[in-house]
Assembly symmetry: none
């Protein structure tokens, strides 16, 4: 982990621009039939050319063997220790629907569920009600004020919602109401310390109120809450790196993660081409750009090797519009690997390349997991990537006399 | 960072001798015209032979992306954490002119400067007065005694001098008088805590006295002080490694750095040949030799690729006199890279080779940044080099039963 106090001490503003392209779920595993990974299967001449020009390596988002969620995977890329800086489920869910939390707000992940006449949970997802139905029910629950705390309820998708508690002295040290299984009642929320008693009480009153309001709305006749969390107190990227950073991401969760570290968030469309257009339009106004590309991760999670390969080729084809801007420093990295044959996020280190005038090019010619093993970056922690990008952009002065 | 308590526990004295040759600013970057670094351009058969016999790798002095000053770069090579053991500017400047500081002494970097009739700084370097003039003016200021503190003023070069404060309870937590720009007055020195008030007062009296004394010496009619520092409390190399170490360095700053970690400092001449002769003469009396070679760093800072190449070839030609001593362990390393195309210290990892009977030779045949990527040491922290040297010299016993 990089020492952010040290970075803060030596970071300076410079005219150089850094583009960090994050290909979600970038790293893969070989297809047993061909022995080639997604990167080795795809025809990606532009990525290969960037690998040949840049310095390559493999990055561990957290530590060897540890599979990161999206939160820690991105925090590491932004240089924050992903272990000591936890982002709670509620905060991540709120970020995922573009809700900006205040520093005193507490957020929780909610499910509509089904209970029987005895109050026993029979379906934790209320038969996966439609997103429209979810929005309708959220409206019924939205806007309660309990003991001076205002509670907003936001629909997410199907049975999922976010509850945001706005008030003073809310304490997240409370148990969850979601027992994570059926055949039992929703659990009473208990305080884990004396100060949290007030908060537990408020949440229990919300649950009781929701039960009354929803009683006629079978199968969505109850709610379950978990992942109570507040926004983490992260020093901003402006503060640490003296950067003026812009995030460009199609999916709200990544915009939310970027906001947590102080980035401005651009309005953009739904494709990589849209994102690159947004980059072009904003290129003069910022000096750091986080550009997030989601698709490959989803293909990997679906175990769809061919789709992941195809998406790689589409990304490769879109790259000239980005490299045409000639960023002083171009970083291509991933928040974690999502090998299609594994069917989920994985612990495998993620390919990373840094391309700049001063990068000390190595002998790597292909953009792949195996080729990058002999890269000049070696095996690094993902938290070191941004420091290297800053150095290459002449944004870090000498440490010590 | 190595755990020095652990090393202290397992280090033993042995007859084996370690020579650590530090080539200041060793690592480079490719010349865009040829695609070859300084090391790849130079004809260096002796260095190549050492690389072929030894175990090679690349070392980060501080961390990936962090450019070290000379102080931290050397502390890392001596095995000390360069981040927690800071060496202040004043101490480094004092070391640079062979002044031995006592543990209670406070040193500061000084400039002669020019002020106008209103006391506004018009030139922070007093027109870069001659070194002779500087020495003459230092004599005028030298030897004041203020509130029980004796103040010595030592000339450095041109407008630069060192002020050493000798007395009890001096506190370095004071602001600087040098505003680092012209068009303003020298700043009053302020205490950053209550204890430092006395020190701030003394320094302000020195500045006021200097102003009076220098009033007729335009352009050098005022002084600026910064980098107040005391000698860091470092455990000595004798204490940690049980070594009997000798430093051989032409430039005073490196002799000073060696003194800070307890090394004896040899008298030597001005060339590498002189230094190797000093090594030969002292070879029987010590078991660890730090041999510092400065030239390449200066060539790199001057952006002079050809001169750095030529100096490498000169060093290579001088090596047989060193290897002829057949040191049990030979380490060739750098305190940091200074690529000529970058024109300054840089963050790039530094080539390192360790040559001994037990080094586990790898397949590397050339002494270069790229060749060392596949070396057996891999990518290490510079703080680990001395531990490896100690192990190869049978100076570390087994850890644990």
């Amino acid at each position: 982990m990089m020492n952010l106090d040290l970075i803060k001490e030596i970071s300076v503003t410079s005219p150089e621009k850094i583009v960090m392209l994050v290909l979600d779920g970038l790293g893969g595993l070989p297809d047993p039939k061909t022995g080639k990974t997604e990167l080795e299967t795809a025809h990606i001449p532009n990525l290969d050319a960037i690998a040949a020009k840049g310095i390559c390596g493999l990055a561990d988002p957290i530590a060897p063997g540890i599979t990161p969620g999206s939160g820690p995977g991105h925090l590491a890329l932004f240089g924050y220790d992903p272990i000591s800086n936890k982002i709670g489920r509620g905060v991540l869910e709120a970020a995922g629907i573009d809700i900006e939390l205040g520093h005193d707000d507490m957020a929780a992940r909610g499910n509509f569920c089904t209970i029987d006449g005895k109050g026993i949970i029979t379906d934790r997802r209320a038969g996966r009600i439609s997103t429209e139905k979810c929005a309708e029910l959220c409206k019924l629950l939205d806007g309660m004020s309990i003991d001076g705390v205002d509670i907003k309820i936001y629909p997410v998708r199907e049975h999922r919602f976010v509850a945001v508690f706005h008030g003073n002295n809310l304490d997240i040290h409370i148990t969850e109401s979601d027992p994570s299984r059926i055949g039992v009642s929703p659990q009473e929320i208990k305080a884990e310390n004396a100060i949290a008693k007030k908060t537990a009480n408020i949440v229990n009153k919300l649950v009781a109120g929701a039960k009354d309001i929803l009683s006629d709305h079978h199968p969505a006749n109850m709610i379950l809450l978990r992942g109570f969390a507040k926004k983490p107190h992260l020093p901003s990227m402006q503060e640490i790196y003296k950067l003026n950073p812009l995030a460009i991401a199609v999916y709200p969760m990544y915009r939310g993660l970027a906001r947590l570290v102080g980035m401005q968030v651009a309005k953009t469309g739904t494709t990589l081409e849209d994102e690159i257009k947004t980059l072009q339009e904003n290129y003069k106004k910022y000096d750091f750009f986080f550009l997030h590309v989601k698709g490959m991760d989803t293909a990997g999670e679906d175990g769809d090797f061919a789709r992941k390969v195809k998406l790689l080729e589409q990304i490769d084809a879109a790259l000239p519009a980005l490299t045409g801007l000639k960023p002083d420093v171009l970083v291509i990295a991933g928040d974690h690997s999502t090998p299609a044959v594994y069917g989920g996020h994985s612990w495998h280190p993620v390919p990373v390349v840094i391309c700049s005038k001063y990068c000390r090019t190595d002998g790597v010619k292909k953009f792949s997991e195996t080729a990058f093993l002999s890269g000049g970056l070696g095996r690094i922690s993902s938290t070191q990537i941004i420091t290297l990008a800053m150095a290459n952009a002449r944004k870090l002065i000498k440490f010590g006399a």
